[in-house]
């Protein structure tokens, strides 16, 4: 199984193909490039048995990830639990509900560890010594940690006013953190210029086509963990919209390779109302994405001009899914519901996913009697500020049994 089935980079707009190299846009039309494969080379070789015989990490599907041979970075990343969420299902009045729980993804507790593992493995293959990213949270931590473990130099660009907790989440790994002054657009453009000028692997710029493919491993795992089948419905949080398209791609690949039956999975997108350009486009019945200025507590989804918005919109419509978006209050309520019913503390993006799913169920867009998977992509410990005032304060008593007896009696404890 050593032969790579990666064929080329292909423009999603004009179809122009390019050799495998660190580049991300089409020279002709500026369209985004995507990794394409020769699937027929895997015919009869890539079986359920082969996959099941491998260690439980994202690389058990390595033939479908764009690396040469073995991973160079992040060898233990991925393979998170798929939780059958019966208590939450009951609360929502649905029959079959699962949580794909990437809030416990190794090593930095978000699904970014999947994409970064592929991006940095590819960066090493290309001969880069320095890797970089622009991030307000999860991506920064993941690049810093995975680079540290691989002995790569890393630069992480952040807005200068980022919360201390998030700076710490990257800084502990010894990365070079650069805070940039200015409005979002200015910071964004500077990062593009830095990526263009310096000979670094900028994970979400020049190695983005490889980086994005890492998301597919979340979809592969869901299908394997469901007993080699795809769910009828999958709800995905959307920032750039990339994860949505890659979950869809993962399902199509498994069908093509004969690993699962085609059961017509519908893909649903979830956004925060304060940053919902993709959701709005789907609801409005258009394919044009109007950029917005993000204003939401779900910072990890706050991309006002989503690069994959058009493609996510298409996947959602073609698969028979839909979009929904939720207010900050609904995000918090959903975070609490998930925590209290399933013991899972998701970050704000998880509240967006569950909150949107609740609305989709209420509106009848998500049927109550078919299997539903919710993709939870990050850990709540990273966005504690969102719920800090929502959690009950401890009731303080003296160190006396008598005082506790009074409290217990008030609680109705027998």
């Amino acid at each position: 199984m050593s032969e790579s089935i990666v064929r080329a980079l292909k423009c999603r707009e004009c179809g122009q193909e390019y050799d495998i190299q660190p580049t991300h846009v089409c020279e002709f039309c500026f369209g985004p490039l995507e990794v394409v494969y020769d699937y027929e080379k895997l015919e009869g070789k890539f079986t359920r048995e082969l996959i099941e015989s491998r260690p439980q990490n994202m690389w058990r599907y390595k033939e479908l990830l764009p690396i040469d041979g073995e991973p160079k970075v992040g060898a233990n990343n991925g393979f998170t639990p798929l939780v059958k969420a019966d208590r939450l299902a009951k609360a929502l009045g649905v029959k079959e509900l699962y949580i794909k729980n990437d809030s416990v993804c190794y090593p930095t507790l978000s699904f970014k560890d999947r994409v970064v593992a592929v991006a940095l493995s590819k960066a090493v293959e290309f001969g880069f010594k320095t890797v970089a990213c622009a991030s307000t949270g999860n991506l920064a931590g993941s690049v810093a940690a995975n680079a540290a473990a691989a002995g790569l130099e890393s630069y992480v660009f952040i807005p200068e006013d980022l919360e201390q907790g998030k700076v710490l989440g990257a800084g502990i790994f010894g990365t070079n953190i650069i805070g940039i002054k200015g409005q979002y657009d200015d910071v964004n453009r500077l990062c593009s210029e830095v990526a263009g000028k310096y000979g670094w692997a900028f994970v979400n710029v020049n190695v983005r086509p490889f980086y994005a493919e890492g998301s597919k491993s979340m979809g592969y795992e869901i299908m394997e963990q469901l007993g080699w089948k795809a769910p009828k419905h999958v709800v995905v949080p959307m920032a750039s919209g990339s994860l949505c398209t890659k979950i869809d791609k993962s399902i199509k690949e498994f069908i093509k390779l004969g690993l699962i039956e085609d059961t017509g999975t519908a893909v649903y997108g979830a956004q925060a109302t304060g940053c919902s350009p993709i959701s709005k486009s789907v609801k409005d019945g258009t394919d044009m994405i109007h950029p917005v200025k993000a204003d939401t507590i779900a910072k990890s989804l706050a991309i006002g001009n989503p690069a994959d918005g058009f493609y996510a919109n298409r996947v959602i419509k073609e698969s028979g899914g839909w979009c929904e978006d939720v207010t900050d209050e609904e995000v918090i309520a959903a975070m609490k519901l998930l925590a209290e019913t399933e013991g899972i503390f998701a970050e704000t993006a998880g509240g967006v996913t569950l909150g949107s799913a609740i609305k989709l169920i209420e509106s009848g867009k998500l049927p109550k009697d078919e299997s539903i998977v919710l993709c939870i992509t990050g850990n709540g410990l990273k966005t504690q500020e969102a719920v800090i005032n929502e959690v009950a304060k401890p009731r303080v008593i003296g160190a006396s049994l008598k005082e506790f007896d009074v409290l217990a009696e008030a609680d109705g404890v027998q």
Binding site: F30, R189, R208, A302
Partner: protein, 80 residues
Amino acid sequence: MKLRVYLNFDKEKVTEPVIWKLAKEFDVVTNIRMAEVKEDMGLVGLEIEGETEVVEASVKWLEALDGVHVEPIEQGIIEG
């Protein structure tokens, strides 16, 4: 230098010859690589070529226009 950007046009700017004005105002070569223009918005993938300081000044001029947004071709790079 050669700079590649996306220009997003709001409804009120869709019918204005902004790129023509840009080339009149600055000594740059403009090269449209993709465009999608609808009633209520427009999107143009544009390459701007010229002396570095002139290209930079031309981008500042574009940014200062109401109803025109200049984005790198990667669009939103800063992720969560």
